[in-house]
Subunit: 223 residues, 2 copies
């Protein structure tokens, strides 16, 4: 993939480029759901032959990684840490999670393979400097940054892979908490029976903020 390209307009008049393709792919995922990102549909949305994409990316995987890089930049755009390190870390965590949820299918792939580029360096620098400013020793700052970012990424990836499920599958899983668990006999499952009224509301929701707050609370106590 050389630096200079001769661009020929497609049949429908669009001039392709890596950026045009990435933006179109992101739009496709955001508008029509995660499963809409197929080479054929991407070609249709771009107004070109599906295989034209292979002139710019080696394959689906390569394209997904490129999109992931785009996503990281989007996540960090406009973030400014404040004076309170707990609040700042909290917002950083929420931002990472939002970015993952906005493009869940990309997130599930990017979580497995960590793409180390400029924007990730910025995130590490931010998190570590916040912990240092909190008063942690360099050793503890490194250790707890690891704890913090892994927890955030792990939960974000888990939520993302859930959000990446086909809508009907996801709804069936949600309904399972409401219906299946409500019908379990209290004789076989006494604890579930005792907790039953509270099962549906909390279970299908996300514990992300609870987890984040519990973690930051523990960190604040250890500083």
């Amino acid at each position: 993939m050389g630096e200079r390209r001769r661009r020929r307009p497609t049949k429908s008049g669009v001039v392709l480029s890596e950026d045009v393709i990435i933006e179109c792919a992101v739009r496709l995922i955001g508008h029509h759901g995660a499963e809409a990102l197929t080479v054929r549909r991407l070609g249709a949305a771009l107004g070109c032959d599906p295989t034209a994409v292979y002139r710019y990316f080696r394959g689906t995987d390569d394209l997904l990684l490129a999109i992931a890089d785009f996503l990281i930049g989007e996540t960090l755009a406009g973030y400014r840490p404040g004076p309170d390190w707990v609040a700042s870390l909290r917002e950083l965590g929420l931002r990472v999670r939002d970015g993952h949820l906005r493009h869940p299918r990309v997130a599930t792939v990017a979580a497995a393979r960590v793409t180390r580029r400029h924007n990730e360096f910025r995130a590490v620098e931010l998190g570590v400097s916040l912990l240092l400013s909190a008063g942690f020793s360099p050793a503890d700052a490194a250790r707890y940054y690891h704890v913090f970012i892994d927890t955030v990424l792990a939960h974000a990836a888990l939520e993302a892979s859930y959000a990446a499920l086909a809508p009907e599958v996801r709804e069936a899983d949600d309904r399972a908490w409401e219906e299946t668990y409500r019908r379990l006999p209290a004789t076989d499952y006494p604890a579930i029976g005792a907790v039953r009224p509270h099962l549906g509301a909390g279970m299908s929701g996300s514990p992300f903020e609870d987890v984040l707050d519990l973690l930051l609370e523990s960190l604040a106590r250890r500083v």
Copy 2:
């Protein structure tokens, strides 16, 4: 899907059952990767027509849930909670993580799902009863069970997806991580520079136990 079945041996002489299919699928995923689990390959491995699987499972998703539940059962086998609820939850968390790491490729696909099957019921019953015995109200027990199990599953899935990478990819990843961060200029990234000697050690290890302990510590304080 009735209770009793008339089993007819396949062309190659194998007698099918749900368990036979699930075990074969787990073996297939463990040996050739999650993407190797297709109906056709499963049929080939079983020695039957691919569509015979549809006599036992409604579709791919149903089969996947059964596999996930099989994994939970394996994880729970032999587990007995002790008198100390914190220690019991800790061991439960470690067991879940071990189970996921033992079948990383299954885990990456299954972690975010609700299996709606027997073994999952057992796990929920266990966790909730431990939190109830700790003194939490039913509402808090349900809420914090969700917090606990999601944290454990999220970290386990993240570690599993890392473990599922091809060895050469994983090693290349580690090397890139060490080298990349060593070369980052301290002028642009002062915090990373200050923490550098501690960064490598923390990154190669897992923060799972740190996270687990921090979480249980917070829970114990809230009871």
